[in-house]
Subunit: 354 residues, 2 copies
């Protein structure tokens, strides 16, 4: 049996839970490598994957006897089959942040068990990455870096934000990404003051900010990177603000390491924002893996100890509504004495003279 499923069973046992119904495809992929529609059932003696005719052949080709996963076609299952999956009057876990209410009710009827909320158990396992996972994220980060280098030469006055976003997508897919991690943000001028801007038909002009937030997936694993550049010669005020964000970003690189409590560490950063009269619009980062936003949230509200081999983002930002915004973000690997950057694109202010 795969180690990740064994770990899960151990966790469930400690919580007095006899089984779990896993519906979130990202968690199923993490535990089993299966990338197909279906439901994974885990109990003390068995692992069962319920799927349909479209996927059975593919799943059986992927699994070996060591996986110890039995695959069933849902169409062939009777009422009694469902009741037999969890034979004792069990506490059975389910993912309350993934399962919609109507599906929850169906589960109660089908499995006839006591459903208990277990969101977070598998998500917690996913926080620390193994070598294979770090390699996938690093590959995605390399494509992201190459894309940034490429797009700097591509951008011209008069191009729209949407056009630039599309060109970046093309580049990353052609470079071997499975997909994007999320819809690329290309925000110019005052659009950059919106932290979650969507690319518009606005054309790139001279003398304005350009904020690009982007990432891609390799074998399902995400990268995440933001750079803010200036089109033309940046005014002094912009340079000052840029310097502040860059200094915050580099301070975090050193302070976020194995054993550090986020609550304490990020409180210093919040204090520094206040001291310098900057408003805080969002947290300083988040975990990255099979999902683009995973645990942990890098926030002073999170009483959480960082550990080696967690992969997170380091992304301070400052925003001046209606004017412009500056964010600098790297995907980083938490190490023993500091963070290692996995995205390595230039961070010194780039003034693009077009």
């Amino acid at each position: 049996m795969k180690e990740r499923i064994l770990d899960l069973k151990q966790q469930l046992k400690q919580h007095n839970i006899q089984g779990m119904i896993i519906s979130n495809p990202v968690n199923i992929k993490y535990l089993t490598s299966i990338d197909a529609e279906g439901t994974l059932l885990v109990n003390s003696s068995e692992n069962i994957f319920l799927t349909d005719a479209r996927y059975i052949e593919g799943v059986n080709n992927l699994l070996t006897i060591d996986d110890e996963i039995v695959v069933y076609d849902v169409k062939a299952l009777s009422e009694t089959d469902y009741e037999s999956f969890f034979p004792e009057p069990d506490n059975v876990g389910f993912e309350e942040n993934y399962v919609v209410y109507s599906e929850y009710k169906k589960m109660l009827q089908k499995y006839k068990v006591n459903l208990v909320e277990t969101e977070g158990i598998i998500e917690k396992q996913r926080i620390i990455k193994d070598n294979q996972e770090i390699e996938n994220i690093s590959k995605a980060c390399k494509i992201t870096d190459d894309c940034f280098e490429y797009i700097l030469k591509y951008i011209q006055i008069g191009m729209t934000e949407k056009e630039i976003a599309e060109e970046m997508r093309d580049f990353m897919i052609k470079a071997g990404a499975d997909d994007l991690s999320f819809d690329t943000i290309v925000a110019s001028g005052k659009n950059s003051s919106i932290p979650h801007a969507v690319p518009t038909d606005k054309k790139i002009e001279g003398n304005e900010t350009l904020l690009i937030d982007f990432g891609c997936k390799v074998n399902g694993y995400c990268s995440d990177c933001t750079r803010t550049i200036y089109i033309g010669s940046a005014p002094e005020e912009f340079k000052e603000n840029y310097k502040f964000v860059l200094s915050e970003q580099e301070t975090l690189l050193k302070s976020l390491r194995d054993g550090v409590n986020l609550k304490t560490e990020i409180s210093y950063r919040v204090y520094n924002y206040q001291k310098n009269n900057y408003e805080l619009f969002h947290s300083f980062g988040h975990g990255v893996g099979l999902d683009i936003h995973e645990a942990p949230t890098i926030s002073h509200k999170n009483d959480f100890i960082l550990k080696k081999n967690m992969v997170i983002t380091d992304e301070p930002g400052v925003y001046f509504p209606g004017k412009y915004g500056i964010r600098i973000e790297d995907t980083v690997l938490v190490g023993g004495i500091k963070c290692e950057r996995l995205t390595k694109s230039e961070k010194e202010l780039i003034e693009l003279k077009l």
Copy 2:
């Protein structure tokens, strides 16, 4: 107040429901035109949109006094505010197929009302399209048709399925689509025998089937189209099967009209499949609108009367596992005496000699 919200209130009244919490952004967009993260609350006297600082300005710019929608920042709301939104000991509807279990529990705590399942009420309103909606879908269908014409000239031996899918995406976005309706299917050779194939790195060879299922969005409204062509000279057996699918597709165009019961009408088609020894792998189509798959399902299991101005797909298919599949699909508008095709691409068998 917008007519769609008035209709919803009427529906709720008939079901003895005093209000509704609308969480699905597609339903919110349908009712209000608002395209932002948030929750719409409807009760007998008011309409309230709860959102956050990122969206308030944009939403207020969109709404006019005639909309009669009050916008609140969730950050400014107290416990008492939530309890006051539904003042009577009300039955309040929620979308049980959209809301996850943990959110359902939070709703119970926050609003302190009797939550009742109302999935389907807004979805039912959405089935019949108005002129503006039909125009948007038609525009998306036109881009889809242009894309098919373009890609026929682009395809070469040795290109991968993924490359063709990416090129189609580029074409549709550059032609003005907001987005794709779904990930394009490009399936060649035996991959075409999987109804929901994902484009692979398989290269296009000579003498094989090529199935393309694609669509895009205009102002949020979807198009959906499938064509199956043959690379080289199609064998007789393939031509025979193609003829069967095309004949089924054209029969449906005539039979699916205002007043027809799907259960009766589609039963004839199922019978014809059986008579000709074809296996049925999926339904004959689905509604299309703001979602790519909406009500109604075009199936003999659906006891449902078609009405004028519904937009649906007409997509019979036959599949020979491990060999090839053939599907021909148009997006069509239900009319008084027949269906009008909104996708108009060539349906006679195309044998692409490369």
